[in-house]
Amino acid sequence: MFRKILIANRGEIAVRIIRACRELGIKSAAVFSDVDRNSLHVRLADEAYPIGPAPSRESYLNLDKLMHVARRAGCDAVHPGYGFLAENPALPRACTDASLTFIGPPAEAMEALGSKTAGRSLARGVDVPTVPGTNEPIENPEEARALAQRMGYPVLLKAVAGGGGKGMRLVSNDEEFHSAFRDASSEAMNAFGNPSVFLEKYLEKPRHIEIQILADAHGRVVSLGERECSVQRRHQKVIEEAPSPIMTPELRKRMGDSAVRIARAGGYVNAGTVEFLVDAHYNYYFLEVNTRLQVEHPVTEQVTGLDLVKLQIAIAAGHRLPFAWESITPRGHAMELRLYAEDPENNFFPSPGKILSRRAPSGPGIRLDEGVYSGWTVPMDYDPLLAKLIAWGNSREETIARLRRALEEYTVTGIKTNAALFRRILVEPDFLRSEIHTKWLDEMLKRPLEGKNADSRAADVAAIAAALWHALRETAANTESSEKSSRWKIDGRDRQLDRTP
């Protein structure tokens, strides 16, 4: 087993990996950019090293600096997390050169499966259906536009590298095509350092269902079942669940087998995810392979009881997967909500800033994977994911009930979060019946939010609280000038805080 693992990432996923290392008795070495010195992953890791200024290109995407730290800290393995360099073949190659073990697939498998275009042709090769579209990166936008017209709108423009909805645009007519193309490729360039995008026919109301696979270095490839991720905002997953409400054992078997075939064909090793679109008639189409750990891996962990990060490490260390897992069955139902620092009332604009207070939900069936703490300032330089709220229950209904309950307990002040979005989704009849698709949320958000403040009691209480707040602050003021005395008041409170009783 490894002695020390370099975690080439930040935020909640770095914390997640640190926890796995600690439970395995492996030392963890974190890295941090200038704005991340105070971040939770730095506080929790066994070791932490600076790697430069805030911009990702000069820190978390800087291969040389990462390798330098790995050597300096005496690491023997590297875990990339997700995003940043996780799907960049240069990282596993650099690891090999530095005789470090990369905890993920070999560079070749990344190239064979990672780029969407390569993955699609490989899938066709093993008789897995794919969505019609260009098989190659778009060289000539004008030709692409013409093809789009022939296939018929709407079409999707997608970044060849990466995922997470970045560098992706839905184009519904000829006029939009070129500006959409510009946005997509510039966003792709910024996010993945690669501007190429390709074209894909847009299916009506498809569901996004993906298969989690594990492959060891000894030829065993197993499917850990599916996750449904159809609730997306602008192609960005916001809710994931397992099992999929529409799944049948027969369909699970077929999709699992397809995923395993693709992984084998690509010579895949370690944890990976094969994404599919499923249409109204339960036809499924291969979408892409994510050659890394997924943000939403916890829902699979909750229903299988397995720890995917520990398994990634074990596989990288050459361990064999137990035979039994070829027929693993999920237990109960799990669902994940992605809590972002963004303002649902203002077009979901990112809302970085200082977290003034925070109450985390807990109790039966609740798991919180987060990378923040009260008093920490969310930097504006990175993805605004604050936390993943995960619930497990015996049924989908119980799981949803637990999430609703947990959301009532979860409070963050100082920054905006999208918690209100979930309070709304989790009572939507379509969602409760699971009559959803990848555009469902965008459509829901177009509908006006009626009766948001329906609870008149809440308004009463708010009015009283507002008056009370002034009353208290002014009472303080009566002793001296408002400014001064309220300070003294606060000061008094705070002096207590500096003492133990």
Binding site: S179, F349, S357, A458, I464, A465, A466, H470, L472
Partner: protein, 166 residues
């Protein structure tokens, strides 16, 4: 103490009087059984007729208050009738020239509407990139782009004025 609270589009009258540790509260002239405590700084636990509520309060730079009640969020402006510091009220700032400000620090990546162009409500004005996501800033009203204060590639701070729409 008597306060006028402008909240949720209404004007509420709140009267508070302290009795030992408890607060006597009347809302719009109706007396309520209330018990309020500041359990942690700026977080109030309020027992109203037995119902347990919690309100987190954030004072805003403009003197108004943002209140979170777990299920809903409100902005309130409080006036103490005795003190006549005149304050703007949410209700008053409507119509006329709309000032478009940057909701957060970021970079202008694309201008969608030139000065003089007429725009529909909800139509995109510019695209700001922040936290690696490109976000379109839309027009709050139908009208004409009166002035544009930024150009493509320019970095902007939160609150910075980007354009006027009239």
């Amino acid at each position: 103490m008597k306060y006028e609270v402008h909240i949720d589009g209404k004007k509420r009258v709140v009267e508070l009087s302290r009795e030992s540790e408890q607060w006597r509260v009347s809302l719009d002239g109706m007396t309520l059984d209330a018990d309020a405590v500041e359990v942690t700084p700026n977080t109030f636990s309020i027992l109203l007729e037995g119902e347990s509520h919690e309100v987190r309060i954030a004072p805003m730079p403009d003197g108004s208050l943002t209140l979170h009640t777990g299920i809903a969020e409100y902005v309130a402006e409080v006036e103490d009738p005795r003190a006549w510091r005149g304050r703007r009220h949410g209700a008053m700032e409507v119509e006329g020239r709309q000032q478009i400000t940057a909701p957060m620090p970021g970079k202008i990546v694309r201008i969608l509407a030139k000065p003089g162009e007429s725009v529909e409500i909800g139509q995109g004005l510019l695209v700001v990139e922040a936290m690696k996501m490109q976000n379109e800033i839309r027009s709050p009203k139908s009208g004409r782009v009166e002035k544009l204060f930024v150009k493509e590639g320019q970095a902007v701070n939160a609150g910075e004025v980007l354009a006027w729409v009239d």
